[in-house]
């Protein structure tokens, strides 16, 4: 069944952790929660694949965890406060994970934050961003759009 569409799906670069994602990601998130315990962190690190066998994960979720694809985990029902526990198990700070999810290096990401963060301009809506892109293509000679979507 395809995912039900919501008004907030229009927000770009965002996976809202709603009831449907929570249901899909239950076991993924419970796996992450298990990493709150030192003995579980050790067991996971010793043999990741074997440890994951203990949880009812879909093949996609399993792959995303093993490959540390953090955006994919969110898409498959992971929640950031839970997946952050996997990041912590790897010894990564929150900022490192944020950088990874934005496709940036931690250094560049930290610089962007110090400079005031990612601007909301151009980052509010998928549909209006597309509209803008289309109209920009139509009227080519115009000066380039001042959309901030490229920042960071």
């Amino acid at each position: 069944m395809p995912r039900e569409q919501h008004d907030y799906d229009d927000i770009p670069g965002t996976f809202v952790f709603d009831a449907e994602r929570s249901r899909q990601g239950y076991h993924l998130n419970m796996f992450c929660m298990s990493l709150m315990k030192e003995e579980n962190r050790k067991a996971f690190k010793a043999n990741e694949a074997a440890y994951l066998d203990k949880f009812q994960l879909t093949p996609e979720q399993r792959e995303a965890i093993l490959k540390r694809q953090y955006n994919r985990m969110l898409e498959l029902g992971g929640n950031i406060y839970f997946t952050a526990k996997l990041g912590a198990t790897d010894g990564h700070s929150f900022q490192h994970m944020a950088a990874v999810m934005t496709g940036s290096t931690q250094e560049d990401y930290a610089k962007m934050m110090l400079a005031g963060g990612r601007s909301v301009e151009g980052n509010r809506s998928r549909s209006s961003a597309e509209k803008r892109a289309k109209s920009a293509r139509k009227s080519k000679p115009k000066t380039r759009s001042k959309s901030g979507s490229k920042r960071g």
Binding site: G13, T14, M33, N71, F94, V120
Partner: protein
């Protein structure tokens, strides 16, 4: 009679806690953040509340995805700091106020707020970072703290309006508690930030500053902000700001803003902080005073004015 003297809002960024715990508060980056709370600590030392009600959210520490209460009121005698993956924060155990907490629970449930009563709970940085910011790092927290955990992890959190109304119900509960206690309410979380997905790092200072302005002068306007607008404008995790509205509902409609601080960033987040004082510190007594005044002046005033005074009493 117990009374609420002030409401305080503050971000609860985990990295602030880490900076405190690892002795990095003097680094220029962190100095910029901590310097904004020096005045607040002075204010707090003078205010000396008997109880703090701390509105915060749990970050997959006490609550996993097994149980997700929308409003969970901590009624226990104490709340140990949670292990958030790096061992528990080296902060004092939070001592509760079970008598006032259970009084609040009973009162607000009868006021139709069906909150969850929690008698065993660990508390994470969401609660303890604002305590550090307002009290520093003492050996023991100077007063009992009643935690109220709000779900902002799984969408949807309660609406801003609902949070505001809960604040009003909490105030009513506090003011019907017989012991003479000074209470301060903390609303924590925010301000604009997004820590998940490709849009992580989003900050919207314009939104934040308008939010701070209206928090003081037009909170009802803030109760009309939709979840979509919060997430779009202030980032997916910026929706935490609904928790500030519980605090705002618990104080007077007209308040004095005595302090404000705003800086970007602390790690991934815009840090906002405000102290709002109730104009007259003697909440319930004032109501009584106004009542008698309106009675005295009744013959000289029209019926409408009397009705207005009544409304004011109800609001107050």
């Amino acid at each position: 009679m117990a009374r609420i003297i002030a409401g305080i809002s503050s971000s609860h960024v985990p990295a602030i806690g880490a900076a405190i715990d690892n002795g990095r508060t003097q680094e220029p980056y962190w100095q910029r953040v901590f310097s904004g709370f020096e005045k607040s600590k002075e204010w707090m030392a003078k205010a000396k509340p008997d109880v703090v009600i701390g509105i915060y959210n749990d970050h997959a520490s006490a609550f996993s995805v097994e149980i997700i209460p929308t409003f969970a009121l901590g009624c226990a005698a104490e709340f140990p700091p949670a292990d958030e993956g790096w061992g528990p924060r080296p902060v004092p155990v939070v001592k509760g106020h079970p008598e006032l907490a259970s009084h609040i629970a009973q009162s607000v449930i009868l006021d139709e707020f069906d909150l969850t009563i929690v008698n065993k709970m660990e508390v994470d940085h969401g609660l303890t970072v604002p305590l550090n910011l307002m009290f520093g790092s003492p050996k023991e927290w100077p007063c009992p703290v009643i935690p109220l955990a709000v779900n902002v992890v799984q969408y949807p959190p309660p609406t801003g309006r609902r949070c505001f109304m809960l604040g009003k119900a909490i105030r009513k509960a506090v003011e019907s508690y017989p012991e003479d206690l000074k209470v301060v309410v903390f609303g924590t979380g925010g301000m604009s930030h997004q820590i998940s997905g490709p849009r992580a790092g989003l900050i919207n200072s314009k939104f934040d500053k308008a939010f701070l302005d209206n928090l003081t002068k037009d909170p009802k306007k803030l109760t009309r902000i939709s979840h979509l607008e919060f997430m779009r404008e202030a980032g997916a995790e910026g929706i935490e700001m609904v928790m500030w509205l519980v605090m705002r509902g618990a104080i007077d409609d007209k308040v004095d803003e005595v302090y404000r601080f705003y800086t970007v960033p602390a790690s991934n987040t815009a840090v906002g902080h405000i102290i709002l004082e109730n104009r007259q510190r003697s909440g319930p007594k004032r109501t009584a005073a106004r009542k008698s005044k309106s009675k005295r002046s009744a013959p000289a005033t029209t019926r409408r004015a009397a009705a207005r005074a009544k409304t004011a009493v109800r609001k107050g």
